[in-house]
């Protein structure tokens, strides 16, 4: 079997990508396995816009987008299709942390550079270009801990237990609360869904009517807000929010009554940052030492919306629809600074 494996190594030359000899213009593939959210739509639109600029400069020629609701098998086929399209690099928002490893190996054996965004993967054939989820959680957790103070009682509405991003975020936030002497009374899952978040928060309020605050992740803050509002406790319960227009609209209305919150941006534009990095890598540049942690490159969190800059950000995005996420990405120069 192993002998056979060796013989297949050179069997793929006909279908190979650019390999080490990739030269401009580059062909880029984008694989996205979930289309049910505005965030993913923003992600794809952002890449298309940034790609168009590169195309005008003849740095790239074609962007092949594979975007559909699919499972792991479907995403494997997406990536194989991209490999068969002779792309030079693949940017992927992976449906699984581990289950695409084997197909990533196929891509790498065909000389294709693979970049994972949003969700880091374990495969060493892939460069993860992601925000630091722990830092993302720490910022809002520290804000909330400051609001409720030492000895304060809070409840938590998390995303999906067991999901890698959820675990990284909660681990970091939990440490902040422990260190700050904040009591976490209960932790529940809101599935990163506004309606579920509202339901879960309503239940939590029924059990713990006297909490001082609630820490939640993005995609649920609007639901949590409505539950607290329905209970008439907005002036007593501090809520960590999200940098999305729907929540900011509620925040804006409640500001007159002294409501304060925080929204840490989780940028769909991470895909654009990854595109900039892909172009650098295809041009043959190496990541600067210290920029890589294992196979992961952390891109900075673009900014945080809080009371001090609310007016500025709200003025800019108030015309967008409720599901719009505040966004940001590295500029080309900022991305180039990640390389030697």
């Amino acid at each position: 079997m192993l002998l056979a494996a060796c013989s297949s190594g050179d069997g793929g030359t006909g279908g190979g990508g650019g390999g080490e000899g990739a030269s401009r213009p580059f062909t880029i593939g984008l694989s996205n396995g979930f289309v049910g959210s505005e965030w993913r739509t923003q992600m794809v639109d952002g890449v298309e816009a940034a790609f168009a600029e590169y195309k005008n400069e003849s740095v790239v020629d074609e962007l092949v987008v594979e975007s559909a609701d699919t499972d792991v098998n479907g995403q494997i086929q997406q990536i194989r299709n991209l490999i068969n399209r002779d792309v030079d690099a693949i940017i992927v928002n992976p449906n699984s942390e581990t289950a695409l490893d084997a197909v990533f190996r196929e891509a790498s054996q065909q000389g294709i550079e693979v970049f994972a965004i949003d969700q880091a993967v374990t495969s060493q054939d892939v460069t993860n270009v992601v925000i630091d989820q722990a830092e993302w959680a720490r910022i809002s957790a520290e804000w909330l801990a400051g609001q409720v103070g030492r000895g304060g009682d809070i409840v938590v509405v998390n995303g999906i237990a067991g999901h890698p991003a959820n675990e990284m975020r909660w681990e970091a936030a939990q440490k902040v609360f422990t260190d700050a002497g904040v009591n976490v009374l209960s932790v529940a899952d809101g599935n990163w869904d506004q309606a579920t978040g509202q339901q879960v928060m309503t239940n939590l309020l029924a059990t713990y009517p006297d909490v001082d605050g609630v820490w939640t992740q993005d995609g649920m803050a609007q639901g949590v807000f409505r539950a607290v509002q329905a209970a008439g406790r907005l002036d007593q319960i501090k809520i960590s929010g999200e940098a999305r227009v729907g929540f900011m609209r509620l925040w804006n209305e409640a500001r007159a009554d002294g409501f304060e919150s925080i929204g840490v941006v989780n940028p769909p534009g991470g895909a654009v940052s990854a595109l900039h990095m892909a172009v650098n890598v295809l041009d043959g540049r190496q990541f600067a030492s210290g920029r890589m942690n294992g196979n992961t490159v952390h891109v900075p969190i673009p900014y945080t919306v809080d009371e001090s800059n609310f007016e500025e950000h709200w003025g800019r995005v108030s015309g967008e629809n409720d599901a719009y996420s505040l966004d940001g990405s590295l500029t080309r120069d900022e991305a180039a600074a990640f390389f030697q």
């Binding site: 192993l2 056979a4 006909g14 279908g15 190979g16 559909a68 098998n73 068969n84 581990t98 289950a99």
Partner: protein, 322 residues
């Protein structure tokens, strides 16, 4: 048109082998015209690697459908068998035999449970197996709550390899066809055809109807287990949702392959080709540059067209009494 609509009322649709082969030829020609490197080593190997799980589950579904039933839990069985196997193998090549045995065991038990519910408790197969699918997917989540586990590198590498230029995945498909060919000659499958075709007549001819139905579901489960092993070799890791979308595709492959949903007529040879046609359609839609938002729509429309084409030969052979 007059021919099409009465056809819907037929107890089942059946396609002659010629129509399935014609569809396969058209799919291959169109795909290779759209994809310049269709015949290259990597493209062939990766295509066949994609086909195997669907081919295996389609063969299993064929056996169940031939017996006059249907198994909507086959995809969930693939999921359950794959997560159990990945938990056991856990990246260690020496534990592979135990993992394979456990996957087959899961298929056997799931199939037996379905068979008992359908043949002895006498629930409608479509409802009963839909219900058991939730039991199996739920169990899969308990066994492996989050994606993880790894398959030995030797297995994923071998699955993508080629022996004397022939992809291992193609050999796996030929192996499944051979398995079907052997089964087809066994008494159990002759009973399956008899029970699916006319249970009363089979009963009158001393065919053990209940036992045959149970055997059909067990065989379905065993093929689901083989599909699970192919899924693992393909992905290299476990995922508690991995197989669920295979169920409907397996039924479509059976119909495109010309097996009558009423039972008793058809065979897995057609289903294997049907499964390959289904997978090629996905490829074609991609390489035809259908915009990504329309791809699912076009994919579904093409499959409906294939199902409709599959029904035409049956109309010509329609018995007046039907």
């Amino acid at each position: 048109m007059r021919g099409l609509f009465p056809g819907v009322r037929l107890p089942g649709v059946q396609l002659s082998g010629a129509a399935t082969v014609a569809m396969l030829v058209v799919a291959v020609v169109v795909n290779s015209a759209l994809q310049p490197n269709f015949w290259s080593g990597y493209a062939l190997t990766s295509n066949f690697a994609t086909f195997v799980p669907l081919v295996a589950i389609a063969v299993g579904q064929t056996v169940v459908v031939l017996s006059g039933g249907i198994d909507l839990s086959l995809g969930a069985q693939v999921t359950l068998a794959s997560v159990v196997a990945v938990r056991i193998v856990d990246g260690q090549l020496d534990r592979l035999p135990q993992a394979v045995a456990a996957a087959l065991g899961v298929g056997l038990v799931c199939g037996a449970l379905n068979g008992l519910v359908v043949a002895l408790v006498r629930l409608q197969p479509i409802v009963a197996t839909f219900a058991t699918s939730f039991v199996f997917s739920g169990l899969a989540l308990v066994v492996l709550p989050t994606p993880g586990g790894s398959v030995p590198l030797e297995v994923t590498t071998a699955y993508r390899a080629a022996v004397l230029g022939v992809p291992v995945a193609l050999l796996a498909i030929l192996g499944l066809a051979l398995l079907w060919w052997v089964l087809r000659r066994h008494r159990v499958l002759r009973h399956v055809y008899a029970v699916g075709g006319d249970p009363e007549a089979a009963y009158a001819s001393l065919v053990p109807v209940a036992r045959t139905r149970i055997s059909a579901y067990v065989l379905g489960g065993l093929f689901a287990a083989l599909a699970a092993l192919a899924v693992l070799a393909n992905t290299g890791s476990g995922d508690p949702f991995v197989g669920n979308e295979l169920t409907l595709a397996s039924v479509a492959a059976v119909v495109i392959g010309g097996t009558s949903l009423a039972g008793g007529r058809g065979g897995a040879g057609g289903s294997i080709l049907g499964a390959i046609v289904l997978a090629l359609v996905t490829n074609i839609v991609f390489f035809a540059d259908v915009p990504t938002t329309y791809r699912q729509l076009v994919n579904g429309a093409v499959i409906i067209l294939a199902l409709a084409l599959a029904g035409i030969p049956a109309l010509q052979k329609r018995r007046p009494a039907a």
